[in-house]
Symmetry: C2
């Protein structure tokens, strides 16, 4: 298509050369460095792989920024998370599902209603195009279920040995309608609820990676909680604080709650739900399920008078059937989270020190 | 610190083991996998390396989402970009500077005023802590200059051979005050302005990577354009459309402009500013400077009656001194961008096909 130009010799040759490489890549169905160059081949990737799966009116405008109408809201929430989970597919989910749910849940636990996602992909050269399509299908499935579209995005490709399949970074914007949920609102006698069994996600990924030969029933709990948590906020007065116990698990969140509120948090180990298969897997791998990441659970602090209504509402929701009270905020003001163990002992729950489970999300 | 617990044997040992690894890592001043675990060591990284450099009231709240007050605005803009530039430091900038400027500029060219950044880091195990600090220092420098804070963030660490130093993903939120800048507004007789010489960024990175032994004066133009473009939008009526010519360069942006508006775009090659050293570097590497990424330039379309005022305003700004008119939108409605070359020839400017320059941003 290039006409009589003066500059066009070297780069035309280069473009033709690249064209051949790219054609070879397409034929093999793999992502090539050239797909990340921002040129025609990037457009082709977007038109053939990305937009057919996650396209919507805003994303398809393909602008540098998406525009959101927030006239009704006074405040918006902003969050970001990178996902490097390995393997990218695991029982119960994949990196696309977790990247969407993680960011949606981060907004939801702050009391914000997610309204848009920005999607950043860093793909390693040679990653199968079919696998990238599967990741995008998962992203679309969660976008549909949660009612939150991908509004803008970016794709970069790095060479072999400079990445590992696909890394996904999702940023999310949410609209804050209700009162702010801040840890300063927490006070003695408040009740801690967890929306279901803990430890499933981390152990499902760990088993898939370290013991792929083991047949296990442990599945990741990865799920979008925004509809359930919104309902809770709207229908039940007395919701004070929420967090999703991802990296560093329930222990990390409750230790943070105690440290940041300044109050004592007492958890009852016997009431903390852990699925049997998950408990066995944790014992086998020498891990504490309380310190393992969840991707479809929330820890919720409510006023004591709201406890019953909150539990009833949560148990009526698909992602809250096993919701249960696990502890209480109490005096003294020592900032400590204490676990009352099944055999009558007590131990201080601490935020795990370092990397218990690498690349779990 | 753990007291008489029942579960605490295996994981306590593991934590102690990790503690030793981490201590060794700290001693060597390198990022360890454990720094990405979401536990105490992640907190330590945040408290000692991250927050002292880029901390502010909102970020220091360390919540899952940052909250922005947008009461004055009806619409917000959302954008995201991943940065994988290699080497991470290059003449004129580094990956921190480019990640901030790229996202700030993406908002600014959409007519939005950037109000907050979400920062996602994917660091490779072993990356020197001092280098990470330098990246954060650059981020802070741009945050200060542009008046846009990092409000929330996330850090992941991947193993050796699964990354390459540090990858930075920045999402940005901006407030839209003025009218929307959409390509549908573009019409014949509109004037194309570029805010300065093109090709510097891509060639500076390319030279730093491919020919580190060459002493070159080519420096990246990476810069935040939000103040200059805001002033232009406020002071000069008749600004119709803007884009920053990053990946795929000036050629990519002008080809897109023609294709998306449907009009013919005529560029005058002799008027397109290219620094002499950049031109020489491009010839040496067989690249077309028009197809090379810029990180501190904008292509601006204005009504003909706004041309003089726009140029005068831009030339009064540090990042617009070399602003110049490079072409015009004309009939016919053929969607083609044509370059009138210095020797009187004509060639059609196309979006580059694939990856002319890998990992340039």
């Amino acid at each position: 298509m290039k006409t009589n130009g003066t500059i066009a010799t070297a780069d035309r040759l280069m473009a033709e050369d690249e064209g051949q490489h790219a054609a070879a890549g397409r034929a093999r169905g793999r992502v090539m460095l050239a797909h990340g160059g921002g040129g025609q081949l990037t457009d082709e990737l977007l038109q053939t792989i990305v937009l057919p799966r996650i396209g919507n009116a805003e994303l398809c405008r393909m602008l540098d920024s998406a525009i959101l109408d927030v006239r009704e809201a006074g405040r918006v929430a902003l969050t970001i998370d990178g996902y490097v989970v390995q393997p990218w597919q695991f029982p119960g989910g994949d990196i696309g599902r977790i990247a969407m749910c993680g960011t949606i849940n981060d907004l939801a636990v702050c009391g914000a209603e997610p309204v848009g996602i920005a999607l950043g992909l860093i793909v390693t050269e040679g990653f199968p195009m079919g696998d990238l399509a599967a990741v995008l299908d998962s992203i679309h499935a969660i976008a549909s279920e949660a009612g939150v579209n991908v509004l803008t995005g970016d794709t970069k490709v790095v060479g072999c040995g400079q990445g590992d399949g696909v890394y996904v970074t999702t940023a999310g914007v949410g609209i804050c309608r209700g009162p702010a949920l801040t840890v300063e609102n927490v006070q003695p006698d408040d009740v801690l609820i967890v929306t279901g069994a803990v430890g499933d996600h981390g152990l499902a990924v760990m088993l898939a990676r370290e013991m792929p030969e083991v047949q296990s029933v442990v599945r990741s709990d990865v799920a979008p909680l925004n509809h359930m948590l919104r309902k809770l906020m709207v229908d039940v007065p007395g919701v004070v604080w929420m967090r999703d116990p991802t990296r560093s698990g329930l222990a990390g969140v409750t230790a943070d709650l105690a440290a940041q509120s300044g109050w004592h948090v007492a958890l009852d180990e016997e009431r903390i739900p852990v699925n049997v298969a998950t408990r066995h897997a944790a014992e086998m791998l020498g891990l504490d399920p309380l310190e393992v990441a969840n991707e479809g659970k929330a820890v919720i602090v409510v006023r004591p008078e709201a406890e019953e209504r909150a539990l009833a509402l949560l148990r009526d929701e698909p992602y809250g059937r096993a919701a249960v009270t696990i502890g209480r905020v109490t005096a003294p003001r020592d900032g400590v989270c204490e676990l009352h163990t099944a055999i009558g002992g007590r131990r201080i729950l601490q935020k795990p020190y370092g990397e218990q489970l690498p690349r779990i999300c």
